[in-house]
Assembly symmetry: C2
Homo-oligomer: 220 residues x 2
């Protein structure tokens, strides 16, 4: 691969935002170099230089040029490597997909954090989290995927976050499958895809990571 | 105009998010019907039905189909009426524009609210606000517009918010022109455009509106 076309991902294994980018690249067959960041020991100079505004992973470097913010990176990947497409072809379908991706970005991760960061109010936080999943379940309707029949943009944006749901369930005392059966069925369908299965880490490992984070934040 | 192609904007005169949509349509020459919402007296059934998730303006109805969230609406307008383009033609330029639009959405309005909602700490809040403008000034660099030589996507997203800056200046005790001269010059250049000049309300009226909001929130 020439220097002009080299693709490098600044990554962190447990980040659901990095998972999106890896799933999108797996869907498209984009070869890339993977650099794991040490977020606790010290971020690389390349990360600090490539994303000076947020200093966060993921960053996608394409021919040395950085693209930041995971949803924007997935959009960039979809435009740069168009086959198979993730966003719908028509502007209205694109606007709908961007609306739900934005809803997910505003709501899901923060609501999950409220569960694991809680000191004794995990079940209250879990109720708010389930309400958000129910809204998403409503948007899914009777379709297999958020993109309709085929796995698309909103599915890529959301499924990485699902790798943390097992930890939320254990800490919040609930089961997604009991509360949102259609949403749960969507998760299973996504996880059967090779692009998703090979990217999402073992939920037990995420649970251990969250437990470690709770200790670091003095929440036990 | 046929029913299938009719464009209707659910609007509120003081909303900087609605202003974006009106500026984008003015740039493209999109004819539309304008319906002012009574946000304090009671939202219309059409608004509640068209944007059930947030129940907020702006909503663009195109052939009866709703598009919500202002940045997504501006993107939709750019794709549906391509001339003159707002987003750059290349995926990398688009990703950069979307990054700064997202930064503006995450930071500017909330930082401004912190000024007018403050009880006695307006100047502290103003310092944080100015820091954000300085970051944007850095992104602007030596260019006339965020889109380079021509008025583009990021300019449309940001300039509506500037109609509130006079109120922030009065309440926070600062001048954008003194703190961020290049940013101030950018504002003036934008305001000379017909599409912007005809959409942005009189800053004194926005100041009166903010004063009314302060009273409503019991902040005086």
């Amino acid at each position: 691969m020439s220097k002009e076309s080299a693709v490098v991902l600044l990554d962190f294994w447990a980040s659901p935002f990095c998972m999106r980018v890896k799933i999108a690249m797996a869907e498209k067959g984009v070869e890339h170099e993977h650099r794991e960041e040490d977020l606790f020991g010290g971020k690389s100079d390349l990360l600090l230089k490539s994303n000076p505004v947020y200093q966060k992973v993921p960053v996608l470097l394409h021919g040395g040029k950085p693209v930041c913010e995971s949803t924007i990176i997935v959009s960039y990947i979809d435009e740069t490597w168009p086959s198979p497409p993730l966003l719908p072809p028509c502007p209205y379908g694109q606007a709908q997909a961007r609306f739900w991706a934005d809803f997910i970005d505003k709501k899901v991760f923060d609501a999950g954090c409220n569960i694991w960061r809680s000191k004794g109010e995990e079940q209250e936080a879990a109720k708010d989290f389930i309400e958000i999943l129910k809204q998403l379940e409503g948007a899914l309707g009777e379709d297999d995927f958020f993109g309709g029949d085929s796995f698309g943009f909103v599915d890529v944006i959301l499924i990485g976050l699902a790798s943390w749901f097992y930890a939320y369930e254990k800490l919040g005392g609930f089961k997604v499958e009991d509360q949102c059966p259609k949403f749960s069925a969507w998760m299973k369908k996504c996880m059967q895809r090779e692009s998703v299965a090979k990217v999402l880490p073992d939920p037990e490992k995420i649970y251990e990571f969250v437990t470690m984070m709770k200790k670091m934040h003095g929440i036990e």
